[in-house]
Symmetry: C2
Subunit: 341 residues, 2 copies
Amino acid sequence: MLSERQRMILNAIIDDYIRSAEPVGSRSISKRGDVIFSPATIRNEMADLEEMGLLEQPHTSAGRIPSIKGYRYYVDHLVTLDGVGDQDARKLRTFFAEKMNHWEGVIGHAATILSQLTNYTSIVLGPEMFSTTLKHFQLIPINDVSAVAIIVANTGHVEHRTISIPDGISMDDMGKIVNLLNEKLTGVPFYKVKSVLHSEIAKELSRYVEQCEDILTLLEQTITEEQEPKVFFSGASNMLTQPEFKDVDKAKNILGMLEETQLLMQLFQSNPTGIQVKIGTENTLEAINQCSLITATYSYEGQSLGTIGILGPTRMEYGKVISLLNFLSKDIALMMSRWYK
Amino acid sequence: MLSERQRMILNAIIDDYIRSAEPVGSRSISKRGDVIFSPATIRNEMADLEEMGLLEQPHTSAGRIPSIKGYRYYVDHLVTLDGVGDQDARKLRTFFAEKMNHWEGVIGHAATILSQLTNYTSIVLGPEMFSTTLKHFQLIPINDVSAVAIIVANTGHVEHRTISIPDGISMDDMGKIVNLLNEKLTGVPFYKVKSVLHSEIAKELSRYVEQCEDILTLLEQTITEEQEPKVFFSGASNMLTQPEFKDVDKAKNILGMLEETQLLMQLFQSNPTGIQVKIGTENTLEAINQCSLITATYSYEGQSLGTIGILGPTRMEYGKVISLLNFLSKDIALMMSRWYK
DNA sequence: ATTAGCACTCGACGAAAAGGAGTGCTAACG
DNA sequence: CGTTAGCACTCCTTTTCGTCGAGTGCTAAT
């Protein structure tokens, strides 16, 4: 729909604006060198692009800035994936070379590094247990009345909770229960655990122990309890670097949102595999209507391991960030397979 | 050293300044009602207080603001502990009434609540394993080459890491090793684990398994590896509410510091029991030279469980925060004892 | 179709002026 | 002698106003 020239101009304007954060005028485009037309011509095209809704004018005598629609077109048709710079690649590689001994660590550090490399904020959603299967269950008494329940998933993910031991349960009973659970539940996907508990385990349990009702509900709570969503962020202070958030109130809105786990979860509601870009008001959350969010999901052998997102101003370096996320997602898969040989 | 009147005036000035964040003039003090002298008299006293270094003047024709020394005097001699309001108390109580099933949860939520109640930023340092004893050790194979090692402390604290299984170790061997470790290490304080591993376990181990060297170092790494310091913060966006940080650069400095775990640890270096107040430049970290940090340590039965700190502008509500931390620390102890009956 | 030229718009920047809160000092008062 | 009223002075803050200049849209020439 756009002429070649219009696309070049749009590309040039967005490129410039991403760098400068200031409205781009026809003259400066003309002087860039990659569009060899006079300012007047460019002005005409700019007026057309504005009419199409791809550009906007802050006020009459200012240059143009891209609209949401403009960014969308840019991301869909124009952006060039810069590839990942040598330095960045090295940094990521050395990061994965370090020994990482648990999941939270890997994902957390990945987030930190990403926010450092991009100077944006990274948001990370941990793996959902929902899609994994149970590998091992263990109860470890701490004292007479409480015990630690440990749940290991086949991905190596570990959850633990402290529970209080119901009266009248002996160590012996507990051992039996644990054995029974491991026998019956190992390999069962978490979303089925609840039903298996009721169908298969309830009967067996009643043979050993008396008040099996109580124990059953306790176990059910313990194992299937909605694990707290593991969502966190890194590099929030980078937001303050962006000139669009030099106004403290805007910044506060965004930082405030980052701190509300509930809201943060909403960001990742729709979770298609691969890389997704949400620009400005395309995000349902009002707080980040001036931001863009680029997300990537990671999976290993079909199991979703989590989502990582980069949050920046709408004027963000889409090319760079998309490349980086691509690179990283491949590297994570690589590392996983090496980890599990 | 200060006359009663001077103390009243100092107190009034600091109170006012904490509320308004603006230099306090003699007139406004006189009109407050609690100091029944004329502005002129108050001015004279203010000049004296400034000479003593307790007050400062931003410029000639402005009111006075407290100096670091002034705040220090206020905290040491003047501040009235407001007690905890009914609402706040209820909020804290209902918080602890919720079932909390692991440590990270309790401390983390406590931090969130505190930052909400105070409108400052709270920083939390998790329990140090150093001072706890080992309760249970477990190895759970995930697949042929990797296993999850789980370490439970007597406090109910759980650590886990993924390790790769050395070649030539059978399931059987692993079982033996785990049994041996539990037998020898249960009840041993973590800081002694290393030496016990070498002295007692090395020999025994060599009976069962051949390449005991490898395994020993692996175990040593696994168990004694410096666990990542669990330090995190909550309510950072509250900082942006404070007028002293309406300048984005100052805010960025502080937020940036909060995100660097290393630096954050430094804040808690000196860790006396009880409540400690560090005002402005009394903090060694330059980034928070315009902030005050109030910290409280929590222990249960002599074991330090962690530290929680409230970070705000030097102009912070010392009375309120100190009261709250006091209240909370007692409540945590209470909850602990209820938890462990 | 492209471009040079030109009048026009409108925010940014800076100087100057007005306003006002607060001080320090002096002198008067009980 | 301690306290207070009065007053000149300081200096920050806010407002106003004029200038500047980047950038536009339009028209006419190429």
